[in-house]
Symmetry: D2
Subunit: 214 residues, 4 copies
Amino acid sequence: MFVLVNLKTYPCDAVAVAEAARDVDASTDARVAVAPQAAQLERVAETGVETWAQHVDPIEHGSNTGHTLAEAVADAGAVGTLINHSERRLKLADVDGAVEAAQRTGLETVVCANNPAQIGAAAALGPDAVAVEPPELIGTGTPVSQADPDIVEGAVDAAANVDSDVSVLCGAGISTGEDVVAASDLGAEGVLLASGVAKADDPKAALEDLVEPL
Amino acid sequence: MFVLVNLKTYPCDAVAVAEAARDVDASTDARVAVAPQAAQLERVAETGVETWAQHVDPIEHGSNTGHTLAEAVADAGAVGTLINHSERRLKLADVDGAVEAAQRTGLETVVCANNPAQIGAAAALGPDAVAVEPPELIGTGTPVSQADPDIVEGAVDAAANVDSDVSVLCGAGISTGEDVVAASDLGAEGVLLASGVAKADDPKAALEDLVEPL
Amino acid sequence: MFVLVNLKTYPCDAVAVAEAARDVDASTDARVAVAPQAAQLERVAETGVETWAQHVDPIEHGSNTGHTLAEAVADAGAVGTLINHSERRLKLADVDGAVEAAQRTGLETVVCANNPAQIGAAAALGPDAVAVEPPELIGTGTPVSQADPDIVEGAVDAAANVDSDVSVLCGAGISTGEDVVAASDLGAEGVLLASGVAKADDPKAALEDLVEPL
Amino acid sequence: MFVLVNLKTYPCDAVAVAEAARDVDASTDARVAVAPQAAQLERVAETGVETWAQHVDPIEHGSNTGHTLAEAVADAGAVGTLINHSERRLKLADVDGAVEAAQRTGLETVVCANNPAQIGAAAALGPDAVAVEPPELIGTGTPVSQADPDIVEGAVDAAANVDSDVSVLCGAGISTGEDVVAASDLGAEGVLLASGVAKADDPKAALEDLVEPL
């Protein structure tokens, strides 16, 4: 099970969360990675944790002031990237271009989307994985398995219908180890979460609780 | 074969092109429609031509100043709408929302995209049709059949792989009746074109030439 | 005093509101105009009311599918346009381009902005007027004079500091005739309002109440 | 004279350019700074050069995946930031918000704009400086002093008319020391440049040539 911790622009100690993630990754069967802001990639990667970017732009080297280049992100230590997160929605053509840019650079890709139809669309663009983020669950604390299990199963079916090589992450409604198990039972191969770990008083304990039932 | 004439924001006489399209639709086996600007929908629809919008926003009735509401477009006489044209790209989630808005209102939908991967993505959102617009052909006058037939066949395959009910239009590189035949031979059920008709000295003659070989 | 009624994408009868506005304009000293959706401009203008667009794009005739061309809006009967409404924010360069497009076509321009600093910025682009829309007042029913009179006075000062030819409208917190008087006392030469008239059971009575104290 | 070198997303060695800039800053009267990508801020700042960000978003700490937070940029070593570069245009309200975010964090601000009217608008938002980037000069190699000196003088006047505390940089058409002198003679207090230094075989020599006539 893949646990990807999105640090957003939280006022958290990115390095401390990264060290916790690195340790839990090493001491359990779970795969744990952390996605900090672009400006923090280097210091997070230096902890040894698996490091992801939160976004890359559909661009190449050139005249793109203020954009996020896949090569720069990889050079700073990222091995994967989120694309089209609900807080950083892209045009359809730019999701395609960002997946291409990431793949050109060897970054693993997770494309986020809201519902099964969009998950099918995201899967058609050929990323490694998609993450379904039902807007009604984001940041509510409601576990996905209780609120709307159909949306995860629907996302798993929609992705499989388009490209069976694309795995599905559950991108909202994950707070506890039970939620992780529920997501896994619904067909998800990973979870994308944020505040539950990034804002925890003890991120390591929070991560251990999350992966303990696996 | 469906021939959809996009009037863009050309300085053409929208009503005159609409009348030509109406007459060619009536006198041939081709289905011919016209997509004017929102502010011209009403007068174009009054000619009796099949009228399409160029864009609708992913919104409902409410506080959306300056946006294009599917209901208003339908009320002005449109029976279908382009979505995500290369000159009006939308976020992935908004393509989804615009398709939903159009379907809620009974508008037929054509979602545009650049390449087979994006065509698959567009098809996953459940529109009536998709239109493939290879950027390298838009506005060049190069016929699609000569330039890159693979992209049309690839689009037809990509759409069919995702949803066999979604038909495919060829959205660039169409200037002559031969191009229309070539697009049809490649599996397209229609063509989306613009300047070849809208800017012609005699739009009716241009349309007749286009559909003559059918 | 200029009263500009924004119909947004409300499910109102645009023509009925237009007729009410036309009649109140004719029977009082107030100048009353209506801003419908682009697809409704023609039928609204046919009532004889002063008709405004809700938005124009920073474009010329050409390949701009799905955009709003100033010429098309003027041709449908508009004599003015809102630009950069809080529900249709534009890039700074595009506010500039939209003002130019409107002026090229002879449309009167009102550029909306959030606060005195942005009002100064909007005034620097040379529109006929600016409208200050404090986000904390939009849609709340709180009258601007009670909530935050400083923001209107600040907007009037900011505009005057940059270009004394640019008049200021009060773009939020206007529900009653008292609010209109308060806005006028604070230096505003007009008001921009929406639901109070557009959603009223009797738009004519609502408008008469608004302008009665003038 | 302030010389700000924008590294864009060029395939240059950011650290090498930074070291050259640091050395020329130390050995001459010019103030020289470098603006790398967000992911490279930390390593560039470690050289001791004055480090600028290329962009910050109008956000605070919170749920803003994939955005650039002023605090993170400052924490990585930036002391200033470009805002609204022609390759990263922002909505008017977001230019205002980005200036606020930068000032909240103590970052110096340069807001870019296309022409004197927009320069006046940018100045009204209260940045430390504005940079005028005539689109017709960007990347052409044409020196601003020969092509269109009026636009620099117009920008200086427009900024002074709005806020005399806002200084003006010349943001295009600078390749040689003569261009820097010409910009200074036209009233600019600095220059913003990119490829002339960032893509030079010997960035230090290129910078020395630029500042030599001062």
